[in-house]
């Protein structure tokens, strides 16, 4: 067992897969000698050489398109977007090329695009976004968003081994968060794509969340517990496909549902999940389905604006209390 931060878990997952399969290679901006903007790929260049830890020009469309081309050839590229925000400059390659290729002409595209996402304090509108909603509605893509070091490592390995294009959203603010460090097994393990996980069992209210908001949800659940309300916190882990069965089971047990995500409210994936549950678990709901999310604005820079923008433990607690009292 090795104690790892979230970031260390990603690095070791990458490293192990590159050892395990010579077809796995990394490409992205500043990932080689510099070790990546967040140092996720630090040390990999020395170990694997510049053919497998490749610094690319500043060209997201070419990075993603080339990853697809290499994947067609049977390699397993792990492309990095320096910030998830920059994925939009490669949007077409992902959405129209990579996602549709297997469906259209039967060629597999086993590639991973790693995207450091989510808010770091004062990162502002272009370095803090959670872009999963843009891709959630693209059949052919898979999306994962781990919240713990264990899941970060296990899901990265699963993503690399998957024969489809997988978007891997790693939350920047969790990288070095000591509070969530975990002891990780030293032998090989994966976390299957499409499976959620109950972080905290409960009976009164279900929270569905992912990424950093899982931890905020757990904090809120602890506070509610003092009032005798036991909140079940379900960590989605995979966003596409997502674990509908586990969600339905949980909602049938608690009959009250709160969806929490750091992405903005309107058009965030929480809305789609709410629609599905309202449809399939209507007769198990004792209260309306509610969401806690960021407000519908670009991400502001200045601290007071930013904290108004973001969901946090307090806002989750208020929403939970409202739901409990309904």
């Amino acid at each position: 067992m090795i104690k790892s931060t979230y970031l260390e878990a990603i690095t070791s997952g990458l490293r192990e897969e590159m050892v395990r399969d010579e077809n796995v290679f990394c490409l992205g901006e500043d990932i080689g000698a510099y070790g990546g903007a967040f140092k996720v790929t630090q040390g990999l260049l020395d170990e694997f050489g510049e053919d497998r830890v490749m610094d690319t020009p500043l060209a997201e469309s070419a990075i993603i398109g080339a990853a697809m081309g290499a994947a067609l050839m049977g390699m397993r590229p792990v492309a990095e977007m320096q910030f998830a925000d920059f994925i939009t400059t490669g949007f077409n390659q992902l959405v129209n090329n990579a996602a549709k290729t297997y469906y259209r002409w039967g060629a597999k595209v086993p590639m991973v695009v790693r995207c450091p996402s989510g808010l770091l304090p004062n990162a502002g509108p272009f370095h803090a976004q959670n872009p999963e909603a843009w891709f959630f509605r693209v059949p052919g893509l898979k999306i994962v968003a781990p919240s713990t070091p264990y899941d970060a490592k296990g899901l990265l390995k699963a993503a690399i081994r998957d024969n489809n294009p997988v978007l891997y959203f790693e939350h920047k603010d969790l990288y070095r968060d000591k509070a969530i460090s975990q002891e990780l097994p030293s032998d090989d393990f994966i976390v299957p794509i499409g499976e959620a996980f109950i972080r905290r069992p409960g009976v009164d209210i279900t929270i569905i969340s992912y990424g950093k908001m899982v931890h905020k949800s757990l904090e809120a659940a602890e506070l509610l517990s003092e009032d005798g309300i036991e909140v079940e916190v379900l960590d989605l882990r995979s966003l596409l496909p997502f674990d509908k069965n586990m969600i339905l089971e949980s909602v049938k047990k608690t009959s009250r549902l709160l969806i929490v995500h750091e992405d903005t409210l309107t058009g965030g994936i929480g809305g789609e999940m709410a629609a599905i549950i309202a449809d399939e678990a209507f007769e198990f709901l004792d209260a309306p389905i509610r969401r806690v999310a960021a407000i519908d604005t670009p991400i502001p820079f200045s601290s007071p604006l930013e904290s108004y923008f973001l969901p946090n433990t307090e806002k989750i607690v208020i929403a939970l209390r409202d739901l409990a009292a309904y």
Binding site: P57, A62, G69, M73, Y102
Partner: protein, 341 residues
């Protein structure tokens, strides 16, 4: 008709087996001309089927591009990868998509290469080393780059050949892809099919440099300007570029000039093309030019030419009747294969 299934060599072919200055022998010319004529016949038939209400969707014929299609397609070795666009169906034929395949593809049948998932020439088959094109023209340039990248990383002897129209050179992917390939000296060849019009947009509204191939200098790679209506020039320049790539010297940009002899698509009558441009294009019709070469330089008789043409017409007839009898995919098949296992 694939390279493997080229028309059988005749006695004359065997007699006259020597390679000429372009590196081609009589059998090669037979294959090249057949391919060009087949493309012309196939695409004219497609347009006719549309006018008869027997086809759905859209068609974008490559009339005027046949030399580019056949000449470049023929230069590929078996292990090389073709990343085509829409006006080089002749290259599809050379790599193993039969007329029946392409007609079933156009007609959306279950036994077409995409089983009805995509239309017209948007088909690919990795086993034949053909990449399915996307409608976002230029998007496959980075894909060709990636294929070339993998080839280099694995030390394979494989080259990626792709195309772009002169209009498509304006898109960002042209720049990003070509730059990436140049920086990493990747084994890729990019042919600009400059047919003077991007749909209705003439070249003077598309780019400001004299020739697009001038941009090669900006990327630090060689650029070659050729007559895209001359199948020999196409074959020769593509061969050289492929060899250069195979030798590890990186990508080449080829600009092949031609004229689009029909509208952008079957629904476009191209009235914006000035008469003299069209007349000049018709005078330089690559299929007619190839026929002239066959007769004048290779001494094919007019009977041999007629036989070749008749065979190609028959191949298209056969393709139409085969495809029209082929089944459509079941409606619920739409749900299948979104993800690979």
């Amino acid at each position: 008709m694939s390279i493997e299934a080229a028309p059988p060599a005749t006695e004359a072919d065997i007699r006259d087996n020597d390679l000429d200055e372009f590196g081609l022998n009589r059998a090669d010319y037979r294959t090249l001309f057949s391919t060009m004529f087949l493309q012309r016949e196939f695409e004219e038939r497609i347009y006719r089927l549309f006018r008869q209400g027997r086809l759905e969707g859209a068609a974008y014929a490559g009339a005027g591009h046949e030399a580019i299609a056949a000449g470049s397609g023929y230069a590929l070795a078996a292990q090389d990868v073709l990343v085509p666009m829409h006006r080089v169906i002749g290259a599809h034929f050379l790599r193993g998509h039969t007329p029946r395949d392409m007609m079933c593809q156009y007609m959306g049948r279950a036994n077409g290469p995409t089983r009805g998932r995509d239309g017209n020439m948007h088909c690919g088959d990795w086993e034949k080393k053909i990449v399915g094109m996307t409608s976002h023209l230029g998007a496959n340039i980075p894909v060709a780059v990636g294929i070339a990248l993998a080839s280099k990383l694995r030390r394979e002897n494989l080259v990626a050949l792709t195309y772009i129209g002169e209009g498509g050179t304006s898109i960002g992917d042209f720049h990003e892809g070509l730059n990436f390939a140049a920086v990493r000296k990747l084994p890729m060849v990019l042919i600009i099919e400059n047919n003077k019009f991007a749909y209705s947009t003439p070249t003077e509204l598309e780019y400001a440099c004299e020739n697009l191939v001038d941009r090669a200098h900006g990327y630090g790679i060689p650029g070659v300007l050729i007559d895209g209506t001359d199948v020999r020039s196409v074959y020769q320049s593509t061969t050289e570029a492929i060899n250069r790539a195979r030798n590890g010297d990186g990508p080449t940009l080829i600009e092949a000039k031609c004229t689009r002899l029909q509208g952008h698509a079957q629904h476009d009558n191209a009235s914006y093309v000035p008469d003299e441009v069209l007349k000049d294009g018709q005078k330089n019709d690559p299929v007619l030019k190839a026929e002239d070469i066959m007769i004048a330089d290779l001494h094919f008789t007019s009977e041999e030419i007629s036989t070749i043409k008749a065979e190609m017409v028959e191949a298209v007839d056969d393709a139409v009747s085969f495809a029209e009898k082929s089944p459509f995919p079941a409606p619920e098949d739409a749900l299948l294969d979104v993800y690979a296992d």
